[in-house]
Structures are given as structure tokens and as C-alpha cells.
């Protein structure tokens, strides 16, 4: 297949949120046709430059998806489906990008804090950020403070996302920040917090860098931080 057509097809399928051939898209009648996984593999096989796959097929299409969400045409499942497509494409491309010396937008460590098993919101943020081009290191739920801080140090991550759903566990976020200070890494990492009971005021109170009300705000805040 012509490389340009292949890139356009990948972009189209990202916008349709079709990960595999068996998936349906946003529009009807697409089931059974090659989707992002099959097309990206084909592109790699055909020797298409991985950087142009990222720039021409993945990044732009996710921006269109974001616009469609903003306008109300897409709902969260549509957005997540597209983000998941980009995430999987990035996994497939990652060894080739590494070889070509292409970097991600940065490492983002994400975790639900100790005592809290709720991970839906954290997972959504994780999928969205991966789709937005970050290298997401997801530590899971109910993660001890020491392990979170250890991961920040080990990966030298510039970003840390903390999540909690319970009013009884949200204070653990403050403990994590205190621990980062103790370990001398607070200045090297931006801490973003989120979760139903949290607020901007709470973020200020515990000394976090930002409060994100949802995954979309998280991507926007990260864009601002990068600048």
C-alpha cells in the first residue's frame, strides 16, 4: 500500500477508535476492515519511518478526536477508544522510535495511593496520557508511599500523578509529597493530583503542583507545564 495512504488509514482508524479489525468504529460498516494494530504492523513491515507514523498518523488524529469531544460529538468511550489505539500503536513503535532516537513527551508515573483500591479514574488518565505521547509508568492501586517515591527516583520522572477516591485516603497524597521532599526529589518532579473528593484548594493545601478534575484537564495542564 502507498505509504501516504497507509498513514491516512491509520489516522482515520485512530479517529474511529478501532484498535483491531473486529472492532466497530464511530461510523458504521467498518467491522472486519484492518484497524490500527494491523495497519501499524503493516507500516513497520513496509519500512515506513516510525517518526512520520507518530507525527502524521497519531498526533494529529488525536487532536481531531479532542476537538470532537469538545464539540460534544464524541463521548468519553469514543475518546478512550482513540487514545487506546494510540497507546497500542506507541507500544508497537516504541523499539523503532528508540532506535531512531525519538523521545516521548516524558515519563509520567501514575498511581492510586496506599489504602485506596479505586483505579478507574487513574486508568482513564493513564490511557489518555499514553495516547497523548507520554511514557506512562502505571504503578497500579493501593501503592505504598515508599514505592511511589522510589519509582520517581528510579525513572527520574518529571511528572507524578496521584489518585484517590476516598476522603480517608486523599490525605496520603500529602504524605507522598512530604516523602518526596524528604528524599530530595520534590523539585525535580511535578505532582498532579486528581480524584472525586479532591479540589484545587486541597492541592494547594498539600503542596501539589496541580489539581486535574479529569483526564482532559490533565493533558492540558501537562501541555502548559511543558511550555
Amino acid at each position: 500500500m502507498d505509504q501516504q495512504i497507509l498513514l491516512e488509514k491509520i489516522a482515520f482508524n485512530v479517529m474511529q477508535g478501532r484498535l483491531e479489525a473486529e472492532d466497530e468504529g464511530f461510523d458504521e460498516g467498518l467491522e472486519g476492515k484492518p484497524a490500527v494494530t494491523e495497519l501499524v504492523k503493516e507500516a513497520i513491515r513496509d519500512g515506513v519511518d516510525p517518526k512520520s507514523i507518530v507525527l502524521e498518523a497519531l498526533t494529529g488524529s488525536m487532536e481531531v478526536v479532542g476537538e470532537k469531544f469538545e464539540s460534544g460529538e464524541y463521548l468519553i468511550p469514543d475518546m478512550l477508544a482513540s487514545a487506546e489505539c494510540v497507546g497500542v500503536a506507541m507500544d508497537l513503535l516504541s523499539p523503532y522510535l528508540l532506535k531512531a532516537g525519538v523521545e516521548t513527551k516524558g515519563k509520567f508515573i501514575i498511581s492510586t495511593v496506599k489504602g485506596d483500591l479505586h483505579d478507574i479514574g487513574k486508568n482513564i488518565v493513564s490511557i489518555m496520557l499514553k495516547g497523548a505521547g507520554y511514557e506512562v509508568i502505571d504503578l497500579g492501586a493501593d501503592v505504598p508511599t515508599d514505592r511511589i517515591v522510589g519509582a520517581v527516583k528510579e525513572h527520574q520522572a518529571p511528572y507524578l500523578g496521584l489518585s484517590a477516591l476516598l476522603t480517608t485516603t486523599m490525605r496520603v497524597m500529602g504524605d507522598v509529597i512530604e516523602k518526596l521532599k524528604e528524599e530530595g526529589v520534590r523539585e525535580s518532579v511535578k505532582v498532579l493530583i486528581g480524584g472525586a473528593p479532591t479540589s484545587k484548594e486541597f492541592a494547594d493545601q498539600i503542596g501539589a503542583d496541580a489539581h486535574c478534575k479529569d483526564a482532559f484537564e490533565a493533558t492540558n495542564i501537562l501541555k502548559t507545564m511543558a511550555h
Binding site: E24, F26, P77, L80, E84, D119, N123, S126, D138
Partner: protein
Amino acid sequence: MDNGQPTNNGRTEGPVFGPYRQGVLVKPYERLNRDHVKWLDDASLSILNDPGIWCYNERAANLFKAHGAEVREEQEASGSFFWRVSLPQGLVRDAVSKAPSRIILGARKPENRLLLDAEVPRVYFGTGSEANVWLDVRMEEFVSVDDSQVKVKVPRFRELRGDTTLLSRAARLCEQLEHLDFFIRPLNIQDPDVTPDNHDVNKFFASLNNITKHVQAGLTRLESLKDVIKMAEIIAGGREELRKNPVISFIACVFKSPLQIVDETAEKVFAIVESGLPLVISSSPQGGSSAPIQEAGMVAQINAEILAGITLVQLIKQGAPVLYGSVPVRVRLDNLFDLYGCPEFNQYNIDCVQMARFYKIPCYSSAGVGDAKVPGMQAVFEKLFTHLHMAMSGAQYIHYAFGLLDRTNSFCPVQAVLDNEQIGKIKHCLREPKIDPSITADMINIVKKVMASPHRLFARHARKAMHAGDISSPYRFEAKDLEDKALENAMGYMNQKEKEPAQHLDQTTVDRIFNEIPGILPGLRQVAE
């Protein structure tokens, strides 16, 4: 069949009818068991035999007599005469069994037709009553006495006298409400130029020229029937076409409760039935004043009245399309007004739906009316309480459902918009479950897939259901902050809907109607663009 209706009085499957509104097919909630139904049926037939009915119409009395009823003339204390009719059980049973169980109510747009089948609990919702008042709402801003920076918007209400312009506006709005299936004129027209002589042609024309759904009304004057039918024939495309696609139908409250056949209404019943158009035999006794307040007594009596009415219809013309019209209400014990939106209202009405189903006659029922005078918490409670229960009962044709306030005295357009949202949610809630082996197999696959994925999140797999329309939307008029903006948001939505182009009849049809039918107000002459 001469009335153009499906030949199903033999309870056979009818032909394919073409497009019709889907309504919502429910699994009926039944309050009565078989014994209850039998006891009520027995009680109704017993009442019809003794004390029988007080018939003030000679033709009806003679017709009953000719078919075996015992009829004797009696005199009231006031001196007026009436016929006391004792209906034998066999006569009633035989006549009722001749009534069609399946009726089509036509519409200007074929896809807006309604298929009423007594044996299929497909539920439709529409407007009702003939309120004198149009309740106008506007939001006014008020400033806090403590802090001038704090402002709130509060609804202010104004009562307008119903007229043809407002009835036209109501029909236009109702055309746009997607969950509204039929239109019964919700507003009485009281223009200075509307007289008893031209009341019917104006109310039917104001309705029919602004909505493409089924239009139904009572007849103010018998003499107008000819002109109303002619108007409907012009719209439907001819005499036969109207019988096949009855774009209009009628309501007749032939019984004045308790158990009295009204002379003038009986004459209308004769004429409407002879015309071949569908008719609702409606009865609305008030439990505690014109019927017993006890459930058993109320239902036995209203059922007797409706059965006698249906018997009359079938004796006039066997197989005539007729709806079992039950509007039982309860009295308020503090002022003897009707009390809607109360548990007894639901009990009476659900029972009647079951009785209609027992006789295999489509049921015209009632919901969405209450005592609240303005939109708000009380209105929502009363409406939801009855909307949901009556939909669950599987009544085929639920009137009063949109915009009514202050019992049946006001029609409020923004309330109709709020009701539309509520009814949409109810229709969604009562949809048939989508569960079968192939669907459960799909679900197992999804669970397996998600459990094998890193985040174990089902959100992506919601898309298919979303796109199939299986997932409902949030409440349309919700507010984002710590406030209730339902009314304000509904008004915004109504304003948008009212800007949609009107679905007027075409120029030729309107010209013909104005040329051939006298009495229509010139202001109603509006044509499709």
C-alpha cells in the same frame, strides 16, 4: 371492511399496516389477579342489569330494547322522563366481543400513525384535556437584599386565555416533542370570533394545520361533524383514504356518572360511529362523589359505564373502532375537587387497563396530571408517579400526559417540554430487555477481552451500545452548579424548538379547506413554505 380499519374483530392477525410509531412495548405490571378481574366483571354486569342505566336518549333506549334489553320509561322527581335500561349479560358480552381489538389511528405523516392492539402492551403518550388557561412562564432576575452581587432567576407565571393562536402554537410545539405520540387539543379556544357553531372546525383546523401526528378531540356540536369530517377527508385525500388513515378521531363522554346516558352525547355517538371514524367511549367518575371511592366499587362502576357505551357503539355498527376510555379519579375530601397524582388514581387506572385487556379492547388511559399549579417539585412528583405507573400497566393510549397543571385547568408549554423529557426516560426504562444467547456470548467475549487488557476498563466497549441508541443521556435540563435550572433550561430548549419550521398543510389543501368549510378564522390561514 367498510370502515377501513383492520379486520380483526375475529381476533386474527391483521395485514401489514405499513409504518407506525413504535411507542414502547412493555411487560405489563398487573395489580389484579384473575379472580379480581372476574369479580369486577361480574359486578359490572350485575350493575348494568340492576339497577341498570338511566338513559336520557330515546334512540339509544330503543336500540338497547331492540336487542333484548329491558327498557321502561320512568319519571324523575323533577318531572323529566328517562328510560331505565337493564342490560342482559349476554347482550353486553356479545356486543363487546364484536369490538375490534386492533385499531389504527392515522396521521398526516404515515410514520406518525399509531397501532393500538389490545393484546399488545404498546404504550403511546399524548396530550389531553381542554384547559381554559395557557400558563405562560418567564424567568425574572431578583437581587439579594443582603448582597446586591447575588442574583437569582425565579419563574414568574401569567395566565392567558386559550385561543386559536395558542392552540396552534401548542400543536407546533407538540410536533417537535419526540416522545409525544398523539395530540388531543390541550386548550379550549375562546377567541371573540369563535362561537359554538365554528368551535369544532377551528379547533380541528388549528390542530391539523400544525401537527403531523394523530389529532383527537371531542365534538362540541353535532352539526359540525359533517364539516370536520370533510376537512379530514380533504387532508387525507378522500373519503376512503380517511377511513384507511383516520387522521382524526373523537372522544365522547356518553356517560354522566353515575350510570346516566346523556341525550346530546348519545346523538354524537350515533353520528360518529356511523361515519366510520374511531371513537373513544370515555367515562370519568369521581370516586367519593359520582362513584364509590373504594377501588372495587369505582372500577366496577366505571367498567359498567364503559361497557354499556361500547355495547351501544357495537349495536349501532358492529365492528366499529372504539377505545375503552377510562379516566377514573378520586375526590379530595377537603373540597370535593378531583385529586390526581395520588395512589388511588393509579390503582383505579391500572385496574381499568387490565379490564380493557380482559375484553381485548385498546385502552385510552390517563397519566401526568396532578394538583400542582405551576411547574416544580410537586408537579414532577405527581406526574412521574402516574406517568411511570400507567406506562408500566401497558395502557395503549395515555392521554393527559403533557403540559397539564392545576388538575386539568391549565396547559403550560414549558411543562410539556419537561414532561417530554420525563416520558422519554420512562420509555427508555421500560424497553424490552436485550438479552439472548448471542448477546450474552458477546458479553462474555468483552469480559474476557477486558480482563486481558492492562487497565481492565469497559468504557471502550460501551460504544456499540451507545451507537445503537441503547444508552440513555443524562437529564436534558440539568444544572452544572449548586442550583436547579431545570425550568430555565427547559425554556431555552422550548425556544429553540419553537423556531423549527411549522409543518403546515400545503397551499392547495388549505385553500380547499377554506373554500369548502365555513367558519374557520382567517388568522389560521397558514401554509407550508
